[in-house]
């Protein structure tokens, strides 16, 4: 975690509910100072339902945010205050141990009150109706075009470490067009599809960028009572050869996921070990391909559930890999688990999403991407009343650990970490969901581009990037 417009990462006071940030002396691209009241203005504006922000929900937990979003309180009551020009104070309703990590989300960035007032309804709709306090200024974007430029912002506080003066960005929908443009030197970075990645993998300019997104099978315990049986779920977890699936179906260099929490998301506060790796110690057998053990567990599980056979429907959608993935899973599950019959139902992507959320499925491949770099962004999903716990897996101890991580251990980083590790291990052992893979986005990157970093969410960091001559 590195401070940017704040001088340092704030330590909370008042039992973890008050954060006071000292802001750096920095300027907007129009020359105005970036002040604490720009944050206050931006946050109130985002939470105000009249603004219609689709990201307001991220503010839940900041004092009064929920009430304001529901129209039951004024935006001015939000728990954010400018103590002075360069001192910002945030008050939370309850401790949020990962609050600092949430602030990396653009939904918490400051907005210039002057600029918003000046541009009115047009604010943010085109590059000329924006002001910036980051490393680059957006230019040439008319609000609907596919190409724009990022031009170095001289007023950025860390401008001395910005070495590239201009970046041209183009949205290209057709992957083979992007590949052709890259190969003829018109692009320095292009992302690849699975097929392209399989071909490009051996090239020196190939890069796989690990993303903080995991994909997993959800088993609907409400609809298929047999899925309540732990052995049956464990059998399914062990009957999938993730490496083969990634190699044959996805082909994009994704990695198999031993946990729902992806690698590279969060580190142990004391040992700096990766969360996912630490949690997988002693628990990786649950996601390792083991057809023999899977069969044993399956037979025992069916017996416990008083069943001889089981027929389920695997819900998939019409997106790129979904059809092939569905067929692969159908095949491998039926092959390794005797008496299991899997049929496939394919629906449009949006229908798939709504069916997942409404529990209208037996088995479905779901995915989640991190909102902020903390394991809770994944683990929070699978508590008994978690709104994205589509399969309705429930474990009292798991719920208790997640609860403790937010209350009892909220201000004790070490104990909180241990609680989350334990919770992750329970989820893996129980196979409450069946983790399949962590997405890796394949790229071709001009080898001249050095130090290009990608955040877990997939966004680029161009600060410090240089071009080798």
């Amino acid at each position: 975690m590195q401070p940017a417009v704040a001088k340092s990462v704030a330590k909370p006071t008042d039992n973890g509910t008050v954060y006071t940030y000292n802001l750096r002396n920095s300027k907007w691209s129009n020359g105005d100072d970036v002040t604490a009241s720009d944050f206050v203005f931006a946050w109130r504006r985002t939470v105000d339902p009249a603004t219609k922000s689709q990201y307001a929900y991220l503010y839940s937990g900041v004092k009064n945010a929920d009430k304001i979003m529901a129209g039951k309180a004024k935006a001015s009551t939000l728990g954010v205050k400018a103590l002075s020009k360069d001192k910002l104070q945030v008050t939370l309703e309850h401790p949020i141990p990962y609050f600092n990590t949430m602030l990396v989300n653009p939904a918490f960035f400051p907005q210039s009150e002057k600029a918003v007032g000046e541009y009115g309804k047009k604010f943010g709709t085109q590059s000329k109706y924006l002001v910036f306090n980051g490393p680059y200024k957006l230019t040439g974007w008319n609000g609907t075009n596919n190409s724009w430029k990022e031009v170095k912002n001289p007023t950025y506080w860390n401008a001395k470490n910005v070495h590239i003066d201009q970046i041209n960005v183009t949205a290209i929908k057709d992957p083979s067009t992007a590949m052709n443009l890259y190969q003829s030197g018109k692009l320095d970075d292009a992302s690849l599809t699975g097929d392209q990645a399989a071909v490009a993998k051996s090239k020196p300019d190939y890069q796989g960028v690990k993303q903080a997104s995991t994909f997993y099978l959800e088993l609907n315990e409400k609809k298929i009572p047999a899925f309540k049986n732990t052995k049956i779920r464990q059998a399914i977890g062990m009957s999938i050869n993730r490496e083969e699936y990634i190699k044959k179906v996805l082909q994009d260099g994704s990695i198999d996921a031993p946990n729902v929490t992806p690698q590279g998301l969060a580190q142990d506060p004391s040992t700096k070990e990766d969360f996912s790796k630490e949690a997988a110690k002693g628990y990786s057998q649950y996601t390792q391909y083991n057809p023999k053990e899977a069969k044993t567990l399956w037979t025992a599980g069916l017996k416990e559930a008083n069943l001889k056979t089981l027929s389920v429907e695997l819900l998939t959608d019409d997106t790129d890999n979904a059809k092939k993935s569905g067929e692969y899973l159908q095949n491998t599950l039926e092959k390794n688990l005797p008496g299991l019959k899997v049929t496939i139902a394919t629906v449009p992507f949006k229908t798939r999403l709504s069916r997942s959320q409404n529990g209208q499925f037996d088995m479905v491949m779901g995915g989640w991407s991190a909102d902020f770099p903390d394991p809770i962004t994944f683990l929070d999903l699978f508590t008994t009343d978690g709104s994205y716990n589509d399969g309705k897996w429930s474990n009292a101890q798991y719920d208790k650990l997640i609860e403790q991580s937010k209350t009892t251990y909220a201000t004790d980083a070490e104990k909180r970490w241990q609680a989350l590790i334990q919770a992750q291990q329970i989820l893996t052992k129980e196979q409450g969901i069946i983790p399949i893979y962590q997405r890796v986005q394949a790229h071709l990157v001009n080898p001249k581009v050095q130090n290009l970093k990608t955040a877990p969410g997939g966004s680029y960091n161009f600060v410090g990037v240089t071009l080798k001559k």
Partner: protein, 308 residues
């Protein structure tokens, strides 16, 4: 004539009203919401729906919609917050119009030429080649042409830009890809019609007066053979000018075709409605113009009411 045109304009407005209504109710049948971040909690979606007036009964939404449209107000896009539909269309339609017009001109001119040559040299290898060419142009989808043109002419031989919208040279390959279908269509129509015309009495008469074959074709046959082509040119032009998703995607062109498909997959109701209405208006107006033009091109056709 005036009475006829007024009556037709009346029908046109009725057609637009029916199209708008059907589109509105079909849109309501689309799965999903315009709020495409799957992480937004249900409570938050309810708040957003209220802000956009989507919580009202369907008939009330329909009324609001129709009143807005009648005033020429198509509202704001959901996907591009703060962007009005008219701005969105006006900034994206330029490249599509340009490509459409270029493709139309090249396609019909070459098509007429190809069709005429095939007819004149009926049942020779020239005719056969032209026919094969037309069948290929008709049956291979334009994105295949687009990909082939891009790979060979741009990527391998570097004669044209691979993609992106940057000056006239970048419009050549997409124009060619789009021109294939109108070329093939026109060529087939032209050939059939020309063969008919060439065997008619007045052509025989012209020939017997001692005019050369080229004179006959240029002076008499061409004009009469082109009448049915006028019929297909209208709808074809509208189709072309409103963009092609695939060709625009292959050449990364910021056109309206891409926008149309995107608006449907993201449930961007106001944009879907705006584009459907634009398409309907263009199509109905073009058909009306073609019908009126008929009277001028072909004296044999009389507009109803004129004989009275």
């Amino acid at each position: 004539m005036v009475k006829y045109v007024l009556k037709r304009i009346g029908y046109l407005l009725l057609t637009l009203f029916i199209v708008a209504s059907i589109t509105f109710f079909l849109m309501k049948l689309l799965p999903g919401t315009p709020f495409n971040n799957p992480k937004i909690p249900a409570a938050q979606i309810a708040i957003l729906r209220k802000q956009y007036g989507l919580d009202l009964p369907v008939w009330q939404q329909y009324l609001n919609y129709m009143v807005g449209i009648a005033h020429g107000d198509f509202g704001e896009s959901y996907q591009f917050a703060g962007q009005t539909v008219s701005y969105l269309i006006s900034t994206r339609i330029g490249p599509s119009l340009q490509l459409g017009v270029q493709a139309m001109i090249i396609g019909t001119l070459l098509g007429i030429l190809l069709g005429a040559i095939a007819a004149i040299r009926k049942n020779t290898w020239v005719d056969a080649t032209a026919t094969i060419f037309a069948i290929i142009g008709r049956s291979i989808p334009n994105f295949v042409f687009a990909a082939l043109l891009q790979f060979w002419l741009a990527y391998k031989w570097r004669l044209f830009p691979i993609a992106l919208w940057d000056g006239f040279s970048s419009s050549i390959l997409p124009t060619l890809a789009l021109a294939m279908a109108p070329l093939a269509n026109t060529a087939r129509f032209m050939r059939t019609e020309m063969v008919d015309v060439l065997s008619s009495d007045y052509i025989e008469l012209a020939k017997s007066k001692g005019e050369s074959q080229w004179q006959v074709v240029a002076k008499h046959a061409m004009r009469n053979s082109m009448i049915p082509i006028v019929t297909i040119i209208g709808p074809m032009a509208v189709d072309l000018m409103l963009g092609s998703l695939v060709v625009e995607n292959v050449f990364a062109i910021p056109g309206i075709g891409q926008q149309f498909v995107q608006s449907i997959t993201t449930n961007d109701y106001p944009v879907i409605m705006g584009l459907t209405m634009l398409y309907s208006v263009m199509l109905t107006v073009v058909i009306l113009i073609v019908d009126i033009l008929y009277g001028f091109i072909d004296p044999r056709i009389r507009l109803s009411g004129e004989g009275n």
